[in-house]
């Protein structure tokens, strides 16, 4: 399913987390939302999931459908949380079966179907035989994959991952990156993942969306962004460790120079010139 985000702003009590964000995502794309911490990338992901509601004026569309006012439980986007958020009192099987258990009776598949579906999913994430384990007795990588299987159980059209590899050690991260890429090739769902690690974004994603201070700075394929960074922020972020860039000022050009060079890249319509820190 394609996702259209227009003029999304979101403020928390004092500071704006998102400031007039526009973004078009094609069906089946794998997108990385890349930016330093506090840039608003996680907020954008949560707005898409329906866990956070945008300020008035913006809209989120799934396919042709406007879902802006729809609660997360009706939006049914698969969401994998940074710390997995597995139900600690339920075993692996019940964690993955949860989305079926909460369906209204007439929509709920029979128990045998649920069992079949859960074992399929566990097979897909290479955790067959772990049904009876409780989440506290799993390793980080295993929990991650259970969270994945759970998010995929209801076959969401949209998959949202918040720092999916953030809490894992370096070696597991490398394996899971490859795994995510392969997995995406197989299921071809529209997928967005948040990361602050540029290597991760550039290795895995079809397109990278660079965010800073609640504003999209540039979007494009990894090659495009690397070849033609549009502003100081992007240049700085790609060359230096992200932390050191916070606070640098920059301006955004109306038309990112790289946007039209290859087919999947969408030109971004920035409504306004935004001055950093304003």
């Amino acid at each position: 399913m394609s996702i259209t985000i227009s003029r999304i702003s979101k403020s928390f009590s004092r500071y704006p987390a998102l400031n007039g964000v526009n973004l078009e995502i094609e069906t089946g794309e794998l997108i990385a939302l890349l930016g330093p911490s506090g840039s608003g990338k996680t907020t954008l992901l949560r707005v898409i999931a329906g866990l956070e509601f945008p300020d008035d004026g913006g809209s989120v569309r799934f396919g042709g459908r406007d879902v802006t006012g729809l609660s997360a439980y009706k939006r049914r986007a698969g969401f994998v949380f940074q710390h997995y958020a597995l139900f600690s009192h339920l075993n692996v099987f019940e964690n993955i079966a949860f989305p079926f258990r909460v369906l209204p009776r007439r929509e709920r598949p029979p128990e045998a179907d649920i069992r079949r579906r859960v074992s399929e999913l566990l097979g897909a994430v290479q955790l067959a035989g772990f049904e009876k384990r409780l989440p506290p007795r799993l390793s980080g990588g295993q929990r991650q994959r259970v969270a994945f299987a759970r998010a995929l159980a209801i076959e969401p059209e949209v998959l949202l991952l918040d720092e999916p590899f953030g809490a894992l050690d370096a070696r597991v991260r490398k394996d899971l990156r490859r795994w995510l890429r392969d997995f995406h090739e197989r299921i071809k769902r529209t997928t967005l993942f948040v990361t602050h690690d540029q290597d991760e974004a550039f290795e895995v994603a079809d397109r990278v969306v660079l965010i800073d201070k609640g504003v999209i700075q540039q979007t494009g394929t990894p090659a495009e962004v690397r070849a033609r960074p549009v502003n100081d922020f992007v240049r700085g972020f790609l060359d230096l460790p992200p932390r050191q860039n916070i606070g640098k000022s920059f301006f955004i050009r109306n038309e990112p120079a790289t946007a039209r060079t290859s087919p999947p890249a969408q030109p971004l319509a920035h409504d306004t010139q935004v001055c950093a820190g304003s």
Binding site: A49, G50, L51, S71, A72, Y73, K74, R75, R76, A77, G78, F79, F81, H83, A85, L86, F87, S88, H89, F98, P99, R101, V102, L103, L134, P136, R150, A151, A153, I154
Partner: protein, 291 residues
């Protein structure tokens, strides 16, 4: 994991830097024990000893008295109303205070404790001021022949006031520590509010909830001060167990007074046991969910 714990078993635990010398340790432990036995165990033992001072028959005769039976019944009735009320209130308060961020949130969290700081007598007096014959609604109630003060509704109100903090207090730190991630996950998986509460929140907090309910119940059955103010001490009508014990004692019916008191002491022991168990389970649950 198993390997690590086996190794630990064979290595003596090193003394921590704060370990006291053996003399100080003996003195402190001894002092604590003396204090405990003097102020806790001894009085408790005296209650049971006095209760049986005139023999087992006299002990059981005390419970044959209709006024005593009525006091037991009234105490159970009041607890049966106040405890569920405060359980629901406590859950609602803990939920809203930990799940929503709003101005004045910390003030409300502090305010929940109010009944613990004020004297229970005040807890009773405020209801006399509001519902008593000379209170705000006194006339209105009298015109309609509704009795609140010196009647069961007043006792229930005073008990609810006094036992108000226990459930909420037990839950707020627990729910604060557990966070809302699992609830958010349930939301994205298609669960509605009620399903999230029943399937995710409640299982995670059940031991903390039980802990609060047990304490709430103990206080509801044992409350003296606030209830004393609103009860009017009408025998067979508005006397709860603690009030009834006082009356028996003032009438020099020591064996009967202590027999009834032993019932409350027994309640305290059961409460202590259940509380310890619930506390232990709640801690384990918190530990597991935070891993």
């Amino acid at each position: 994991m198993a390997g690590v714990s086996t190794i630990n078993l064979h290595n003596p635990v090193p003394l921590s830097a704060t370990a006291e010398s053996s003399v100080a340790k003996t003195v402190l432990v001894g002092l604590t024990l003396v204090f405990f036995s003097l102020f806790l165990f001894l009085p408790l033992a005296v209650v049971f000893q006095e209760a049986f001072s005139k023999g087992g028959a006299a002990f059981f005769r005390a419970f044959g008295d209709p006024y005593t039976r009525h006091a037991i019944w009234l105490t159970l009735l009041v607890a049966a109303i106040a405890v569920p009320m405060n359980t629901i209130f406590g859950l609602a308060a803990a939920w809203s205070l930990t799940r929503f961020r709003f101005q004045g949130r910390w003030f409300l969290i502090t305010l929940i404790d109010l009944p613990l700081w004020v004297s229970p007598v005040i807890g009773g007096l405020i209801y006399v001021l509001v519902f008593g014959a000379k209170g705000w609604f006194g006339h209105w109630l009298m015109d309609r022949d509704i009795r609140i003060i010196f009647a069961v509704p007043g006792i229930v109100l005073a008990t609810v006031f006094v036992t108000f903090p226990f459930v909420a207090r037990g839950l707020i730190p627990l729910m604060e520590a557990q966070g809302i991630q699992e609830e958010e996950a349930a939301l994205t998986l298609g669960a509605n509010g009620w399903q999230i509460f029943l399937r995710v929140t409640l299982p995670k907090i059940k031991w903390g909830l039980l802990y609060g309910v047990i304490l709430c119940n103990a206080r509801a059955m044992g409350e003296f001060g606030a209830v004393s103010v609103v009860s009017g001490h009408i025998r067979g009508k508005t006397n709860t167990l603690p009030l009834h014990i006082e009356i028996l004692y003032n009438e020099y019916q020591f064996a009967a007074a202590f027999a009834v008191a032993s019932l409350l002491a027994l309640l305290a022991l059961i409460t202590l046991f259940l509380k310890t168990h619930a506390e232990w389970r709640a801690e384990r649950q918190l530990h597991e969910s935070s891993r």
